[in-house]
């Protein structure tokens, strides 16, 4: 369902500048037909999670090739392929692994230590508070150990006064979030016992003079660029430059001004979009000022945009290599050559050596709830957590269900569907707002819940355990799920990743004829390869003899010559 963007053009070569804004599926189809006119290609400009792409839809195909950019969709397709008994060839490139991080609330609201924390604050709290839906809960004024946040006084601060000068408004907001709020936080000594204290920053100290209007006009309509961008208005040309505190302050005020002057109608409905330059400028400035307050190094707009927009870096060469590998694996699938399926890791060192490391497919994971019957267990405070929390944080976010059904014995607590009656929907909505122990069919310690997604043909049993307290920092969700293995490993260090990419829930189904192959591109640090990537080819054998030698020596500094060749198996592809 994606449309083409300018930043796609550096590698998605089926698209041209003139196609920007059009449907990827449709344009890709037309482009391919131009050099292979006789293939039958059907484009669907739609979300793969739509209900019409059901098991019957997938059953039409001999093989599925995935090029998705999010975990949720991948899991969804994975389950449908299993249900349809159609082979799936999966692939992914760097950047994918970094996506699944949530930060504890207090790190964002009170004790940031990295620039990314400041970006999250600026984007999800400040930007959302000023320009987004006013009715949304917002933790902006939450201080550690202080639960009170929605007092009337506090909300008034962010409202733009009737006849208030816009720059005054900007300065007032600035002083509140970077000055007053920090002073409040400092008053809690306990927080700062083992941490560096932040310093409050007031606008008058950084920018004593009122910024004069550009071009002397109230609303600048003659210069399009200046009215759409704070950088342009201020003469800041290079997005790779790191602005000083004063420049960041100017951008903050100017961006706010431009939003309220030129985009008044959008305020209250705006969500952050990485391609909205003004939004990116505002978030960069706000994040930087907060970083300055907490003594965290400042970053350029380019960097901040990458973080705020979850931008995945990508180049044409790597994509071409992975695409080639996908086709080779797909051909093996189509030839039903189950013996020769390979997982291939494409590792790229900073020293730019390339190594394609073939690995045998992993065995089905016994602790994965898709291919085994092990029930999960969930620790949760059944008197405090609502059904809504359970649905959002566990069923959708962790289990990846799209249209879940939740049952307690024979009682249907919640479901999603197109054909529900109005009173059923009302009932479910009411249930969402109840705490677990007060549901029509009470859920307490010892209860077994059944959670299902019919479209994905995926069922799970969850054993509920009541727990009173949770650590705010380590367990920010207030619930702990056990027995559920993550689809991907935690990335401890951006540069060193191990090869366990698909070792867990992305496993092979036990149904015959189905095999899933993962092809991943990762970066590893220079010097020796981390132990996790060492792969003895025989390690993953499912019992059948391994024909090739396992003298895989990945030590980068090794000057010896390597041989991965398999002379006994010369078979035509």
């Amino acid at each position: 369902m994606d449309t083409i963007e300018v930043s796609n053009l550096n590698r998605q070569f089926l698209f041209r500048q003139s196609h920007v804004g059009q449907s990827k599926a449709k344009v890709a189809r037309d482009a391919v037909l131009r050099f292979r006119p006789h293939i039958s290609i059907t484009p669907y400009h739609a979300n793969v999670k739509d209900s019409n792409f059901n098991v019957d839809f997938f059953k039409q195909f001999n093989v599925i090739l995935n090029g998705l950019d999010n975990l949720d969709a991948r899991r969804h397709v994975n389950r449908l392929c299993l249900a349809a008994e159609v082979p799936l060839v999966e692939s992914g490139t760097t950047g994918f692994l970094g996506q699944v991080t949530t930060y504890p609330v207090c790190t964002i609201t009170s004790t940031p230590s990295k620039f990314v924390h400041c970006v999250v604050w600026a984007k999800d709290l400040l930007f959302a508070k000023l320009f987004g839906d006013k009715n949304q809960d917002n933790d902006l004024n939450v201080r550690s150990n202080d639960a009170a946040r929605s007092s009337k006084n506090v909300d008034d601060v962010f409202e733009w006064g009737e006849n208030e000068d816009i720059e005054q408004y900007g300065r007032r907001i600035y002083d509140h979030v970077f000055g007053y709020n920090i002073e409040q936080a400092l008053s809690n000594e306990e927080t700062w016992k083992n941490r560096n204290k932040p310093r409050p920053i007031y606008c008058r100290d950084v920018l004593p003079d009122i910024m004069t209007q550009r071009n002397g006009n109230n609303v600048d309509k003659t210069d399009d660029l200046s009215s759409a961008s704070a950088m342009a208005s201020l003469g800041l040309k290079n997005p790779q430059d790191i602005w000083c505190l004063m420049e960041n302050t100017k951008v903050f005020i100017e961006a706010l001004k431009l939003f309220f002057t030129n985009r008044r109608k959008e305020i209250g409905n705006l969500s952050f979009d990485k391609d909205d330059l003004l939004a990116v400028e505002f978030v960069t400035a706000a994040a930087n000022i907060r970083a300055a307050s907490f003594n965290i190094p400042l970053q350029s707009l380019f960097e901040a945009k990458g973080i705020a927009g979850n931008i995945v870096h990508a180049v044409a060469t790597t994509n071409a290599i992975v695409a080639g590998l996908i086709v080779i694996e797909a051909i093996k699938v189509l030839k039903k050559d189950t013996e020769s399926y390979r997982m291939t890791y494409c590792l790229e060192h900073p020293s730019k050596k390339m190594l394609l490391m073939p690995v045998e497919p992993f065995e089905p994971n016994k602790s994965c709830c898709v291919c085994s019957e092990t029930p999960l267990s969930l620790e949760i405070n059944t008197h405090r957590s609502k059904l809504r929390d359970f649905v959002e944080k566990i069923v959708k976010a962790k289990l990846g269900m799209n249209s879940p059904l939740i049952m307690h014995a024979t009682a249907l607590l919640y479901e999603v569907g197109d054909d529900l009656e109005e009173d059923e929907i009302a009932n479910y909505n009411a249930n969402l707002e109840k705490v677990l122990s007060e549901l029509p069919s009470p859920v307490t310690g010892g209860t077994m819940l059944t959670v299902e997604d019919l479209q994905q043909e995926f069922t799970c049993n969850i054993h509920i355990k009541h727990r009173e307290e949770f650590d705010e920092e380590k367990e920010p969700d207030g619930m702990v799920l056990s027995g559920w293995t993550q689809a991907l490993p935690e990335k401890k260090d951006a540069k060193t990743s191990n090869g366990n990419g698909a070792s867990t829930s992305k496993s092979l189904p036990t149904k015959p004829g189905n095999t899933e192959i993962d092809i991943e591109v990762k970066e590893i640090s220079d010097g020796t390869v981390s132990p996790g990537t060492k792969r003895k080819l025989s390690e993953f054998s499912d019992g059948s003899p391994v024909d090739h030698s396992s003298d895989v020596d990945e030590t980068r500094n090794n000057k010896k010559i390597q041989n991965h060749d398999d002379e006994d198996e010369l078979v035509m592809l």
């Binding site: 070569f13 870096h313 990508a314 180049v315 060469t317 080639g324 060749d565 078979v571």
Partner: protein, 310 residues
């Protein structure tokens, strides 16, 4: 193109790759001039990648007409006879490549590459040749090495589902990261002639059999005065005989070059598109490593990459 800074248009277009290699590298790329010879599938992939990446200029050399074989693996050639008539491979590829990135200057040079003087090669920073005989490879490599300016030289060849890349970066300086900082290192690459003259015995036991097999085929085509890939199954007995001779000469056990492998190389004229993509992609990334020969062999069992290290 531009002065020192990247333009706004370039920054927007190249955003995702600048996040990989940085703005400085992007600037250097936008100033580099590439010469490419032999417009087959793998080279087409390589050209596509570097044009998308925003190289300064790309010059194509290939006066051959379109053939059935060209259409099977070169996606830059439109399958429309009316469009192809009267145009050389280089001209057709040039037209297609220009569409990928209007900011890159793509042009065609006509004539026999081997007859061009050293001053011609001086215009370029990188020279990549494919579909060349042993003699031509040596010749062009020498011309590049004679210049005072450093011109990187690559050869790439794909036969069947095998491929081989040779790299000559001449004198190459790079920074090596260590625990206590970075140190400057220098590598001296061997010429093509020097590389293939390394006695086989000193290379084994870890070098891929494919390396030796390619050398046998190479020598056969040279001895018989054939054009590259002008070889067929009828030649197999003669090729096997040559293999025996070479193994004796090099004191290498014959089992190191399986007959089946040679047979495959002799028969496999056509390129295989996914292999072209992989090797074309790798070629675009092999610009700072200490390996000079990379050999690929994709069979049903596994894809493999073999280094012959410095």
């Amino acid at each position: 193109m531009n002065g020192e800074e990247l333009t706004e248009q370039e920054t927007a277009l190249y955003d995702r790759q600048i996040r990989v290699w940085g703005a400085d590298a992007q600037r250097r790329l936008s100033k580099s001039h590439i010469l490419v010879y032999g417009m087959k599938g793998t080279i087409a992939e390589f050209c596509k990648n570097i044009v998308l990446a925003g190289v300064g200029s790309l010059t194509l050399v290939d006066d051959r007409d379109v053939s059935e074989e060209a259409l099977s693996a070169n996606f830059l050639i439109p399958p429309d006879e009316s469009v192809c008539r009267g145009k050389t491979l280089a001209e057709l590829c040039c037209d297609s490549l220009r569409e990928f990135n209007p900011m890159v200057r793509v042009s065609v040079e006509k004539g026999d590459l081997a007859s061009l003087g050293a001053e011609f090669f001086d215009k370029f920073d990188v020279v990549v040749i494919s579909c060349c005989s042993l003699a031509t490879k040596k010749l062009i490599n020498e011309k590049c090495r004679k210049l005072s300016k450093r011109v990187s030289f690559y050869t790439v060849d794909c036969r069947d589902c095998c491929g081989e890349i040779f790299v000559d970066l001449q004198k190459y300086n790079y920074a090596k990261k260590k625990t206590d900082g970075t140190t400057e290192s220098e590598l001296q690459y061997p010429s093509f002639q020097e590389a293939i003259s390394v006695p086989w015995k000193s290379l084994r036991p870890k070098v891929s059999k494919l390396y030796f097999a390619m050398r046998v085929i190479e020598r056969f085509e040279e001895a018989e005065k054939r054009k590259p890939r002008e070889i067929s199954i009828e030649d197999l007995p003669a090729v096997l005989k040559l293999k025996k001779e070479l193994c004796e000469e090099q004191s290498l056990n014959e089992s190191h070059i399986p007959d089946t492998l040679l047979e495959r190389l002799v028969m496999g004229a056509k390129e295989f598109p996914p292999v072209c993509a992989i090797i074309g992609g790798t070629l675009g990334q092999v610009n700072s490593s200490s390996v000079y020969f990379l050999v690929f062999f994709f069979n049903v069992r596994q894809p493999s990459l073999i280094y012959v290290e410095h």
